[in-house]
Symmetry: C2
Subunit: 143 residues, 2 copies
Amino acid sequence: MRELEEEDIDKGLLKALEHLSDMGGLTSKEARKIFAKIKKSNSSHVLVAVVDGGRIAGVTTLLVEQKFIHRGGLVGHIEDVAVGQDFEGQGVGSALVRAGIGKAKELGCYKVILDCKPELVGFYERMGFRKHEIAMRIDISRA
Amino acid sequence: MRELEEEDIDKGLLKALEHLSDMGGLTSKEARKIFAKIKKSNSSHVLVAVVDGGRIAGVTTLLVEQKFIHRGGLVGHIEDVAVGQDFEGQGVGSALVRAGIGKAKELGCYKVILDCKPELVGFYERMGFRKHEIAMRIDISRA
């Protein structure tokens, strides 16, 4: 488990993400550009599960938020936990979440939050999370 | 409605935030240091509602997340909507949320998400949000 490096993009990163969301045929070159933006944003840590031979089994992102409240506390947001189809059922997802919590702890976050579908509540509860609030969403039209 | 400037810190910012969370006696000097970190993180936009005389009636933060999925899409996270006690019931909260959505739109986000207490679901639904997922939380001990 370590932070994403550019070379990982062709070693299964896109395939793992595809399992989470339609990637719309994103090319490796486009993904590299996006990764450069993520690094520039300076608050996201992309964590990957690497298996033998350097293949990427899964990925998640820890977004770190600097708050005014809690005396300038840091909050970690775990986003987009994705496991490649070939690596399902092997504990990769929970290992990624644990890595996210570990990174958040290392950085000094006082809590980690995430939004999940109702059917995943049990999975996260077993990892020590508790139901906290209601996640609301509004879509923005490009028009 | 505009982005926070350092001078606003003494014009009611801390008082508005106090209404949201115990500020633990945060001084103006400490708040300036935190604001410098927020600006450095490069992905947070602190929006303030300014009333006559330059007083801060309320504040919220739009955290912008660069994703790999959605072809490198941007997601806006609205955090810590806080209205000063003297300005309650005047629509400041909804104006702040609208400003957050507007800023997210301007930056090209495809959605805005936020976590709220169950009793605020109706408030956000009236603004166009819909219930989406379950927000989970884990606290990190400093030990």
